[in-house]
């Protein structure tokens, strides 16, 4: 009690320990597991990352033809880094900067994307199966 009393009084004349974030810039430690960045050139759309992702924050939309899309949802990601480790082509890097909050307008409609990806994936699988079947029958 007495000690805290004295400490309290002393603290009045000490500099507070507060970081003045956001007025003062904050630099995360190296190796902080922040945003996932994707390099389009390196990616082969092998889908390993999507499958390794625990929370399903990566969806790959492979439309018919060559239009492919790699979608990452910052508000679904748990920043575990598993996708980065699983990517065989080094197309993914985990930055040390954390994602900033987003507002209603900036948000992806994730349910829609999930559904679409599911549908596309199904179609893709079916095509794959069909192709394999064709090969076998040949």
């Amino acid at each position: 009690m007495l000690k805290m009393f004295i400490t309290s009084i002393k603290n009045l004349f000490r500099k507070p320990v507060t970081q003045l974030y956001p007025y003062e810039k904050y630099e995360p430690f190296d190796g902080y597991r922040g945003k996932i960045s994707w390099e389009k050139g390196k990616c082969t759309f092998c889908m390993k990352c999507g499958r390794a992702c625990t929370s399903g924050a990566i969806k790959i939309l492979i439309y018919s033809g060559e239009t492919k899309e790699w979608v990452w949802n910052p508000i679904q990601c748990i920043y575990c880094g598993e996708c980065v480790r699983s990517c065989p082509f080094g197309a993914l890097i985990q930055e040390k900067y954390y994602a900033s909050p987003i507002t209603k307008g900036e948000k992806l409609d994730w349910s829609e994307i999930e559904k679409k990806a599911g549908r596309l994936e199904d179609r893709w699988r079916r095509q794959l199966r069909d192709r394999r079947g064709k090969r076998k029958s040949e």
């Binding site: 009690m1 000690k3 805290m4 309290s8 320990v17 995360p28 430690f29 190796g31 902080y32 597991r33 390794a52 625990t54 748990i78 920043y79 575990c80 880094g81 598993e82 480790r85």
Partner: protein, 371 residues
């Protein structure tokens, strides 16, 4: 249990939860009080049930399990991850091959977690006692620990460092030395915490003799962790089911005999010293550069259990391997689950203003209880 008749007429029902400032989690406690003395308590802990055990047997393959079970609870996430991983490794049959470096890193993670958890709860306890300053100080000190974890594992809360067959990242030399420095600072703040909980008159007055659990009662209700150790039950899963190197390092089990709220706090304080020692030993015992991940080829196939000492006590994982990617059954028994049944018994006859400290002294966090 002391049976006290509740006079419905003059009884005041004080709800506490599911949303309440003193509770970070949704849990409903309803106290029937007379003159602010608690006469009857009812609990409802299942607000947080998300179906994690079920999802592990339907949605996620076993390699994702450590990440998922980490989200059972953010306070001792790594304890869950480790227990799950060890159980999985045992189920696969590779637990013997896990390298010492992996064990050491896991131990560091777990002990850091224990440190922050103990600071957290003791600080929060002070807060609910109305001692804001101690809360602020302890949480300020806790930031050192979180910084250390941030440095080591890349995140403050969910370390996500454990994976089946190893760990995700190693601790390099440079970080290792920085940690040794940080540990000194941490030790100093533990000293501060010890002084607070032994010397501070008002705090001690609030906590002393509050919610006494005798040794027999502790046995009878199967208390675990610091709550059991504060009543003199010598139990610690780190010794009893040693997946790391605790026995080699000579971990000391800290017990007290008073069994009151203060003792529970003090046990935690003293454990912090032990944890710091364990981290030091683990850092010294192995050096970076060893292999940190085994290649896991098999799927879990056996029944396996793991008992791990989470900050709040025994954490029990049972996994039934079926040879498939997804286990057939996952059963988790969590420490708070074991510590809850005694709560109504110690709370009856206590004044309502002593209820939050009493509750917090058992360190209940229900996010794993409900899962």
């Amino acid at each position: 249990m002391k049976k006290i008749k509740v006079n419905q007429e003059i009884c005041t029902t004080i709800p506490m939860g599911s949303q309440h400032v003193a509770l970070p989690e949704p849990v409903k406690l309803v106290f029937d009080t007379e003159n602010e003395v608690v006469k009857r308590v009812s609990f409802d802990v299942s607000y947080v049930h998300r179906g994690i055990e079920k999802s592990l047997t339907t949605m996620y393959d076993f390699k994702k399990a450590p990440y998922v079970v980490g989200r059972i609870c953010g306070i001792c996430a790594i304890a869950h991850s480790i227990a799950c991983t060890v159980a999985l490794e045992r189920s696969i049959g590779i637990d013997g091959e896990v390298p010492d470096r992996v064990r050491a890193v896991r131990m560091i993670g777990l002990e850091l977690d224990r440190l922050q958890s103990h600071f957290l709860i003791n600080g929060h306890l002070a807060e609910v006692c109305g001692y804001e300053n101690i809360f602020m100080h302890l949480w300020r000190c806790r930031e050192f620990i979180l910084d250390t974890a941030d440095m080591l594992f890349g995140n403050r809360v969910q370390y996500d460092v454990v994976c089946v067959g190893g760990v995700n990242r190693d601790i390099d030399e440079k970080t290792g030395t920085r940690i040794s420095e940080a540990l000194e600072e941490i030790e100093e703040s533990i000293g501060f915490m010890e002084e607070v909980f032994t010397r501070d008159k008002t705090l001690v007055k609030r906590l002393e003799g509050l919610g006494v659990v005798s040794k027999d009662k502790a046995f009878e209700y199967g208390l675990v962790g610091p709550s059991a150790r504060a009543s003199g039950v010598k139990t610690d899963c780190r010794i009893e089911d040693d997946w790391g190197m605790y026995r080699d390092f000579g971990l000391e089990i800290i017990t007290m005999t008073e069994g009151d709220a203060l003792a529970r706090c003090l046990v935690r304080v003293l454990e912090c010293f032990e944890s710091v020692r364990m981290i030091r030993e683990a850092l010294d015992s192995t050096s970076p550069g060893e292999e940190i991940q085994l290649r896991v080829r098999d799927n879990p196939k056996k029944d396996a259990v793991c008992r791990n000492e989470a900050p709040r006590g025994e954490l029990f994982y049972y996994i039934r391997g079926t040879g498939k990617k997804i286990p057939g059954r996952v059963k988790i028994r969590t420490p708070t689950f074991a510590n809850i049944p005694i709560l109504p018994h110690v709370m009856i006859g206590v004044r309502y203003n002593d209820v939050p400290p009493l509750l917090m002294s058992f360190d209940p966090c229900l996010s794993c209880t409900g899962r």
